[in-house]
């Protein structure tokens, strides 16, 4: 099974949520309900669903950033839940994440060079000179310049900040990158640039992606396979083509119908 880079089986995660006016009540929310996915090496699996469907929880559980209630995550044959401390940290180098909000996910007090280089420092990769070289190379690869190394995140536009986020994740030469709504905070015109960059980097570095999105227009271009999530469950899973041409579930059909511009809502045109 060497062509599967990550395999998650029967993941379950329950949150306790405050309820009632002053939050004195408690209710249980099943964020993940028996979720199983496989990501093939070098390919992209997209997780599609609305807010609250559990797709971001899934990302966090895969990375062991949140403890699971039940289920196993195998990354390159290793059971991640069994790892801790240094062993887990060593694996995480190969499991990186690109976050949704380029405004919130970069430390405003750190220079871009420090943000991108921090991972190299933590994983103790190369000496200072080598690290600087790698950071510069990565920044240039994502379309920023060497001069940007001394700038702070607020000096960049949203699209450029997301490029910094991508450089930060990829400088460690990971195997699998989890992209959690990487372009949903960006303008349509900037979205395309970032998506094309992600695709190029996937080719060059042989990356596998878990791509989380609610926008089926984007997913069509990024994914090889799609898993549709709803209320913590995967309701439909399959190849991109088959999901778009013949969705089996009403929920998937509804998502497809919501794509803006797909069917001109004629109410205002008549």
């Amino acid at each position: 099974m060497s062509d599967i880079i990550l395999s998650a089986s029967h993941l379950t995660k329950t949150y306790r949520q405050r309820s009632g006016r002053f939050g004195f009540g408690r209710k249980l929310v099943k964020a993940l309900d028996d979720v199983s996915i496989n990501i093939k090496t070098g390919s992209t699996l997209a997780i599609v669903g609305e807010s609250g469907s559990g797709k971001s929880t899934l990302a966090r559980c895969l990375l062991q950033l949140l403890p699971l209630d039940a289920g196993t995550v195998q990354f390159q044959g290793q059971d991640l839940a069994a790892l801790s401390g240094d062993a887990l940290r060593a694996v995480r180098r190969h499991l990186q994440m690109v976050f949704q909000d380029p405004f919130a996910s970069l430390n405003p007090r750190m220079k871009v060079g420090e943000i991108v280089g921090e991972g190299l420092l933590i994983h103790n990769l190369g000496d200072a000179q080598e690290r600087t070289r790698k950071v510069l190379q990565m920044l240039e690869r994502v379309g920023l310049s060497a001069a940007d190394i001394n700038k702070y995140p607020h000096e960049f536009s949203g699209g450029q900040r997301q490029r910094v986020g991508i450089a930060r994740a990829l400088v460690l030469e990971p195997k699998l990158v989890i992209c959690d709504e990487p372009v949903s905070a960006l303008d349509v015109s900037i979205q395309a640039q970032i998506l094309l960059l992600l695709k190029e980097l996937q080719q060059e570095m042989g990356l596998s992606y878990l791509f989380i999105s609610h926008d089926l227009r984007i997913v069509r271009h990024m994914a090889d396979e799609i898993a549709v999530m709803h209320d913590g469950k995967i309701v439909e899973q399959g190849e991109v083509e088959s999901i778009y041409s013949s969705p089996q579930q009403a929920y998937t059909q509804n998502l497809l119908n919501s794509i803006p511009g797909r069917q001109r809502r004629t109410a205002s045109l008549i």
Partner: protein, 276 residues
């Protein structure tokens, strides 16, 4: 003139630097019962144009020239007090972030009641009935009037914002990226709601977006802005099917195509090199 809104030669610049025009000679019209979409990227001046129409420019900016005629009244000649009577009563506005534009410590019913009490002088039972009616119109159960914003989902909050903006039955609604922060399915519901309210109340809607997919869903007329200037205007079908300006074509091309027939394309500024 039967136009609801007629903007002519509108220019906006920072007071400190009056030659740097952020909105440069913008002219367009909007009719009752119609939707005009202003499309452009961040920094194109689309939101600034809407804010100028509302008279809500930041103190560091000023309108250097141009006229804004709304229902025969020249808005640029009004005092601040006169303008506050127009805002909320004759022109409603919906903002992008439903999370930040509602007050977290007041119930949504109270927040809807403010403009009704201020502009129409409603109170007591009459006010309560009106609020419940408005909530019903935007698809929220009337008993939710006592809920606080944090008890509602993003889509419901945006519905509350819509209820607030249409409370005084304005003749015109300005919607500044009202669905950008929302999921696609919720976006589709909100767009359908806005289209329905617009037809039912015969409002003119000025809708600001960066997404041509959304334009295709709701616009009658389209205004494309780039770096403060209008590069193309026209009927929606004409602009979508036969765009004239290279920037419009570039912006249309970068909308991902859900049919998967057209490759993903980033925006191409090559045309900027040549005189457009």
């Amino acid at each position: 003139m039967s136009d609801l809104l007629r903007v002519e030669n509108l220019c906006v610049a920072p007071i400190a630097n009056p030659h740097k025009l952020l909105v440069n000679k913008v002219s367009f019209t909007l009719n009752s019962g119609k939707t005009t979409c202003i499309v452009g990227e961040s920094g194109s001046g689309k939101s600034l144009t809407a804010l100028t129409v509302m008279g809500l420019l930041a103190p560091s900016l000023s309108r250097t020239s141009g006229s804004i005629n709304f229902q025969g009244t020249e808005l640029t000649g009004l005092s601040n007090e006169q303008m506050s009577d127009v805002r909320g009563k004759r022109i409603g506005m919906i903002f992008q972030e439903p999370m930040t534009s509602l007050n977290p410590v007041l119930t949504v019913g109270y927040q809807i009641s403010e403009s009704l009490a201020h502009h129409l002088g409603l109170s007591g039972k009459e006010l309560k009935t009106r609020i419940e009616g408005l909530l019903q119109q935007v698809g929220i159960p009337p008993e939710r009037a006592n809920a606080y914003p944090d008890e509602l989902s993003g889509g419901q909050r945006q519905r509350v914002m819509i209820a607030m903006s249409i409370a005084c039955e304005p003749a015109m609604l300005i919607a500044d990226e009202p669905t950008t922060a929302l999921d696609v399915t919720v976006q589709a519901q909100i767009l359908a709601l806005l289209a329905e309210l617009k037809s039912r109340m015969n409002m003119g809607m000025l809708f600001i977006t960066h997404d041509f997919g959304v334009v295709a869903d709701i616009a009658d007329d389209v205004v494309v802005m780039f770096r403060g200037e209008i590069v193309e205007t026209g009927m929606v079908q004409q602009v979508l099917e036969n765009p004239q300006h290279p920037y419009t074509r570039a912006l249309l091309a970068c909308v991902p195509d859900a049919e998967g027939k057209k490759p993903l394309q980033s925006i191409d500024y090559a045309w900027l090199g040549e005189p457009a």
